[in-house]
């Protein structure tokens, strides 16, 4: 019989300047990268980094005012290249030191950065 770990929802807000340190610590603690996604909110954008350890989730929220350049975590978690390229193609974010950069050609979309929306 299992505990109800699925109800545990931990969200921690981080800043871009501190992102790599926090992610590095999570890696050292044995966390596995689950997913990364971007969302356009009423004001600005938010990136969500989800990590798992023993079936319990930890989510890092990175609020950003506008689409711009962010640090890549691919030097810590190489599989993150999938998500960072996706966010580059759909939202227009640019990731510094992206280990495998498709330069906007990972998704074949008919219009560039279709999910970026109108910025205020």
């Amino acid at each position: 019989m299992s505990e109800e770990k699925h109800l545990v929802q931990e969200f921690v807000t981080v800043e871009a300047s501190n992102l790599l340190n926090v992610v590095q610590d999570l890696k050292a603690e044995g966390y596995r990268l689950g997913q990364i996604c971007a969302a356009k909110l009423a004001e600005g954008y938010q990136l969500l980094y989800s990590f798992d350890k023993d079936h319990v989730l930890k989510n890092l929220k990175l609020p950003v005012a506008e689409v711009g350049e962010l640090p890549s975590i691919t030097l810590i978690y190489w599989p993150a290249f999938i998500y960072e390229n996706e966010m580059q193609d759909l939202f227009g974010f640019k990731f510094r030191n992206l280990a495998l950069d498709y330069n906007g050609k990972f998704f074949k979309v008919s219009a560039p950065t279709p999910w970026k929306g109108e910025e205020k």
Partner: protein
């Protein structure tokens, strides 16, 4: 030093039901690097949250995939139910679990057929899919659909299964166990099958962990990881342990999936024995306002469903992260060093679903 050549693999290829492209850098007949490229069938399904009410969006999310559609619908409902703090009736949780495990059997049998087809064993392919038909018949009888069921809704499920219906399902599953045992013997003991799978495409335990691999791909490398262990739905009340193997090769991945078919039958049998009487849905009131990350163990592995509500009838964001997303890096890794002739087998054994991946 051998000359390096780049061979394009896909997006159209006999072993690929869906389009993915790989640039295979080879030296003689050996792959030294593989660069994946996707995006041929990106449908922008997540973007539709801006135009579909949160109660309707389940029909869109179900269409992320035609094989694990029920699990996607459940994952979406779970995320929004978590967001709105809706408590689903216990009977509905059991019914969801039964349909989800039936989907796993259907998915794995489909995959086994494709694998057999991939290495040219056509009768094995036909037998796998013949048995799978029995599962599709159960879907049709209990939900009305064979591919998309639309039986999962926010707050519960849309249809109940009678006691007689549940007994019939248990009987059908008991009946196909014998046929599955015969099939298993061929998949795991036949010389020609082993020749194509044993020792091919090895992924070590440390690589599986480092590459954040999920599902049968991870479990075949000894990683004990199964989101059903987080206690969601009726899973917290069922007795099971993740199926794992140690070898990490194509054969181990095949073995894990075959053992999971038997495991799913055992779990459905348990669920049928335990399912309580009661309601199958609760009314859903209000609008989602908050956020919730739900996870499912789909047949191909862990999937994420992240919803953000803004108090309106439209969600601010709906994110679906499917298992193949997370297994592409491992596929790239295992392709490095393999023989060109083994590439199709290797790609097949991650059970890629590109429609899921691109959404």
């Amino acid at each position: 030093m051998s000359k390096r050549t780049i061979i394009p693999f896909g997006p159209q290829h006999p072993v690929l039901p869906e389009p993915v492209h790989l640039d295979l850098v080879i030296e003689d007949e050996r792959v030294v690097e593989a660069i994946p490229s996707i995006g041929y069938i990106h449908r922008g399904l997540e973007k539709l949250v801006e135009k579909r009410e949160y109660t309707e969006m389940v029909y869109v999310i179900e269409r992320v995939c035609g094989i694990c559609s029920f699990g996607h619908g459940w994952g979406y409902c779970k995320s929004v139910e978590g967001n709105m703090e809706i408590v689903v009736p216990e009977r509905a949780e059991y019914l969801r679990c039964i349909w989800h495990e039936l989907s796993r059997i259907h998915s794995h049998l489909l995959w086994l057929g494709l694998l057999a087809d991939g290495f040219g064993f056509e009768s094995l392919f036909m037998h796998s899919w013949r048995i799978r038909e029995s599962i599709l018949d159960i879907f049709e009888k209990t939900t009305g659909g064979r591919v998309i069921f639309s039986v999962c809704k926010l707050g519960g499920v849309r249809k109940d299964i009678s006691a007689e219906g549940l007994a019939e399902i248990a009987g059908i599953l008991e009946g196909i166990k014998g046929e599955l045992t015969e099939l298993t013997e061929v998949f795991l003991e036949d010389y020609s099958v082993k020749n194509r799978l044993v020792g091919v495409g090895k992924l070590s335990y440390s690589d599986a962990v480092e590459l954040c691999t999920v599902g049968p791909m991870a479990r075949a490398s000894g990683v004990v990881q199964d989101i059903r262990l987080d206690g969601h739905g009726a899973y917290g009340k069922l007795d099971f342990a993740p199926v794992t193997e140690e070898a990490g090769d194509c054969y181990a991945r095949c073995k894990v999936r075959i053992r999971e078919v038997f495991q799913s039958i055992a779990m459905i049998t348990q669920a049928i024995a335990q399912i309580p009487e009661g309601d199958i849905a609760v009314p859903v009131k209000g609008m989602p306002q908050g956020e919730f990350v739900a996870r499912m163990e789909q047949p191909r592995g862990e999937a994420y469903y992240y919803s953000i509500g803004n108090g309106s009838k439209f969600l601010q964001r709906m994110r679906v992260r499917t298992p193949t997303n997370m297994n592409i890096p491992a596929m790239v890794k295992t392709l490095q060093g393999c023989d060109l002739a083994d590439v199709p087998m290797l790609i097949l054994t991650i059970d890629p679903c590109i429609s899921c991946t691109e959404r």
